[in-house]
Symmetry: D3
């Protein structure tokens, strides 16, 4: 289906006429969304980009191999990272610029003839904004729109996550392990520490995720490291387990998305 | 502390100089956020406004009586209700207008000398946008910012919620019961039906709340009624139970908020 | 016509389907616009909100009782109060946010099937912006659009206004008297003074209202009190007279509006 | 004071360093605001531009000759003419573009060292928007800001205005007479008619100007001619009288502006 | 074709109905774009305005005399001059305001029935932004859109330009000579110096124009004078030669524009 | 200098603290800008992305090896491609979104401590907008800003470009040859044709590049293929020659940039 002979599922490797001829209402377009932002002294700025790009890409390839008509757009590098804007190296978009960007991606996807747009997101700071965009894009274009994470949590083979008390959300055991798995050359474990704001675990209502009360935070609210989690417990084996689980979850999500119809079976 | 002799906790009943003289970093300002939007044939447009206004207001009064320095702004009526914009009577703001509105409220609260701003939200369609705003306001002003719901779910005394399969998110048993409790004159139970999109319960990843995959929806995606839930199971007794529980949760949340410091105990 | 049994004229107490079924080109929707802003040490921040909400609401109820098909939206609390933004407690919207808000209200009203939108305004700082919006809404939606004040001046029974030299525009005798009439618990007359910038009365061209030359002002341009008028001359009796007159003017205006057609009699 | 030897009061004929060296807090900068918009079949599109440009310019020259330190910017041609956007030839700016334009003019004027900015306005459709801008510019820059009209009404020597019933606001006797006075080559009196929406005179509250109730209108709301007034009664003699009166009023206004201080005499 | 008896080609001297009746797809509308900005101590702020206004106007008149259906809008005075915003007297628009302004001019021109819009530009700082706008206007309206300069370079009769090394882009020999030709009363040659940043001529890739590498500059990057060029070599004779050549080039460009069709001969 | 052991010059492979510690005023950050847009039936959508990403990246690596302190950000995929928005598969940003994106990149680069930002651009449709942004970023941040192309033209070894008459600007011999060189699997030469709008070569003033008159065009203005150039003459050998030349030019440009100072030698 591509202009040449590629067999990948990268949408942009197709020619324009190939997209026009091949896409249908059953086509699913996946937009990975990463980030370039501070992740502590031990991890590269492109940590979340790697999560979105690798998991998003692998999930698309596997789901396509399993029969879905699914294609991947180039991963967004610069997104909503204002919670780390105090840290040099973070490249962040303002909320409205990020919002306009993804809505305009939706506009373009709708013109391909595809029926579904999925954001495969590697950066927690994008979640709320992308949820707002899901509705906006659906309203403006009629596309079915979804947001799925690229990192799914799993207990590590050696219990690496055990001591984070549910607070390992940025640069901690899980993310560090995944980068150890994907790009060990970019991790410096000598600088990895335990940066867990334990006192937050004592709150019942207020939580990063899952509690009823949300709060606005910047990553240096918890200390100068700008990390929330225990990086010292990271390992390649935990990273491998996370990769397996995250990929499986992403593929399963794409299958659900492919058969999802809000109006019910027809 | 007011200009006159009021003893309420309504911020706007104070004079400007009273605010300037009395507010400190310990002061908490609560901004209830409602909605004016279609809630089916049996409920008034101001359903979510009532939730935010009544629960938000009662929680502020009770928390103040228990010693917190907490004040309430007038409830926002028009918010982000674009999922119901197809239904006459809905008055909705565009995402950017709503965002700018709440950020500008934050700017004004910061100038009072208060240290904390809490959105007490009665409309699910506002959650993601307000979460984005929490960070923006914190970043721009330094305020501690929070979002808490005004409706907390509780099993009904007669199990009213049992049959909604977790899908009672708009105009269903819970909201209908609460309005029966608060303003029974505004509910017409003869028009209340079961509008539950049962097929959605079969999905494991995709969910309104709590699943890993979010989706963009408009309220008429599920049928022409624009309701998601089983209104026919509503009752005043369930409403009373919800009220008690929601108020208690909101008050408890305010107490947690009052002692919350991201940097930990000092 | 409501979802339940209410007989009020509050639009948002109706259900969505009731609006859709009942509104016609003859329907008039009234949007009161207040403000939460500094009004001096003697008056509450919600002074203008009270004017818009009470007069606007009473006028709608009376006009409806006299046969008009007229309905009231919830009063806007936060509007264009940047002239008082120096004073803690003022909650103001930027000009463009306020403009977008009211234009989006117009968009929603047009979708109800109503033919007319009236802003009943209690805050002078909104007048020019709302005049701009009247045209914008008419152009975008075809609605007939109007702006009417909620406070109509009248000579007081004891001549309270006599000494203000036409400069009693903010927190002076008239507004203080109205709040004494409506909510005496919120007024502290011990703090009420004469804050009249007498020198302004000497200008022939430049005036707050009515002169050919307008000027841009902030309320602390005239002194630190942020009041323009003689609050010390306020009285409940003058407030009662203002209330009677203002209500009568507002009702008469609604009747004129109901029969107004720019193209002339048909 | 100019770069060369000009003795005019056109600011832009000066060099940058001449402005920097010469302007003080006593300097008044006048920005005429015209319009390019439909004025009926008998008048040129640039009618309001001519009013602003000629009266504004003549007033500046005369006031300068009488001792004021006053300078004129080039007249804005394209402004807020959306009420005539249905008529080919009208060139209009959206409200926000016009607002941003004049606020940015204010920003530039503030940097010259001048203390005062005056809009000399020839187009009624700009009034409300400029009033909003007066405050915005004052707040952002500290400039004293004013808006004055360039056309002042006067009874005509032959009573030309008598039959317009106060409704001669666009293309009627006054404006047509002024253009007959200024540029008779641009007027075609053979096409001048009486286009007075007499029925509007019967309303007590609703009025173009001066009544308590404003309304949103487009110029073709009153008929296909897009004129509101009696052009057939125009004359050069009335134009000459209007010119004299308007110029005198504008000069007198500049003198008032020069001595105006909101804080009172110091 | 005008409302009155004018024979000029100034669009705004026509009446609205004359535009509606007379304009066709062959009609070309020319929008001159000037600037009010610092040009050194020897030149007036309106230098670029004069270039656009005089050359643009003369070219339109001559092209019309030679048979083209071409009309001129009033010259834009305030444009994108942020590179000189440090210098008092410069009046500049932000990029987005300038962009919106010209796109809205395009919208209005499209409604006249004309088929072509040409920007005749006298200020280099507008070029890139207008190029962006050409596409935007074409896309939104279908107009054919063009940008042409009003100053065309020519070797001077006495080699005035010889010593500027290609760096005479702002206030140098060419612009100074043109203003000496057009408005000698506004030039003070006693203050004219050689302000040539010679070191820039040594770069092969980086250049103001014509090199492959562009750079972002402010006019005071090169020194406090804010001029780039050798004003001391200016002369009226060189100005006259530039005028002849520039006018001829502009007229020839209009003829090319009149017969240009991207789709080729039909 | 990286978090781990990478020796690449990819900025985002560094940690935040590594950026903070290592970047100085001599550091140059390169932002490649590509596009995902229709390039005819024979080329992939990511053609311009490949040009920016490969040439930009190779130039950075080589310049760093030659001693410059230069780093590369992830290539922007979605940019200003509205001239191809008619063609499915194109993903384009609106002008203001693209502008805001690159200005916000500039803001982030300024916070790293680097002194210079270079856009290495592979898509002609971005040039004008990026030129506007160069100044904006310099003005807002003080960064030295540059724009350089990633494709430099060179006569082909077999004269492939000879027959395009200077019109090979999109999908023609040069771009097709480069993709044949870089990713031959993505090119389908069976679909490559000569799509040269020969008639455009007859114009003297109006030109895509280099002529005095610019015009606004959409890629389907010249025919349904949306290509401007002769793709049929492409070859891998010409692609190899273009690669060598383009890389050499880009590296040479970076060296010039590194020693460029608008104020001259110090």
């Amino acid at each position: 289906m591509s202009a040449g002979t590629t067999s990948s599922r990268k949408l942009a490797e197709l020619s324009g006429p190939a997209v026009a001829a091949g896409f249908t209402a059953d086509t699913i377009v996946v937009q990975p969304t990463g980030a370039i932002e501070h992740h502590g002294p031990h991890l590269p700025l492109l940590t979340d980009f790697l999560l979105a790009d690798h998991i998003g890409g692998a999930a698309v390839e596997q789901a396509a191999a399993e029969g879905l008509d699914v294609w991947q757009l180039p991963t967004l590098a610069f997104t909503k990272s204002d919670e780390h804007s105090w840290a040099p190296g973070t490249v962040w978009l303002d909320a409205d610029t990020m919002f306009d960007t993804v809505v305009q991606i939706g506009r373009a996807v709708a013109l391909t003839g595809a029926g579904t747009l999925v954001f495969a997101n590697g950066h927690g700071g994008n979640v709320a904004l992308l949820q707002v965009a899901l509705r906006e894009i659906r309203k403006q274009t009629g596309l079915k729109t979804f947001l799925m994470p690229t990192l799914a949590r799993v207990p590590g083979p050696d219990g690496e996550d055990a001591d984070e008390r549910g607070l390992g959300i940025h640069g901690g055991a899980a993310e560090t392990s995944m980068i150890l798995h994907l790009r060990p050359d970019l991790v410096d474990m000598r600088l990895a520490e335990r940066w867990v704001p334990d006192h937050l675990a004592d709150f019942e209502k207020i939580a990063f995720n899952g509690g009823p009360v949300s709060f606005g935070w910047l990553s240096n609210d918890f200390g100068p490291a700008g990390v929330v989690g225990d990086a010292s417990r990271a390992s390649r084996s935990y990273g491998a387990a996370l990769w397996e689980h995250s990929l499986a979850e992403a593929v399963a999500s794409l299958h659900e998305i492919a058969r999802f119809d809000p109006a019910g079976p027809r």
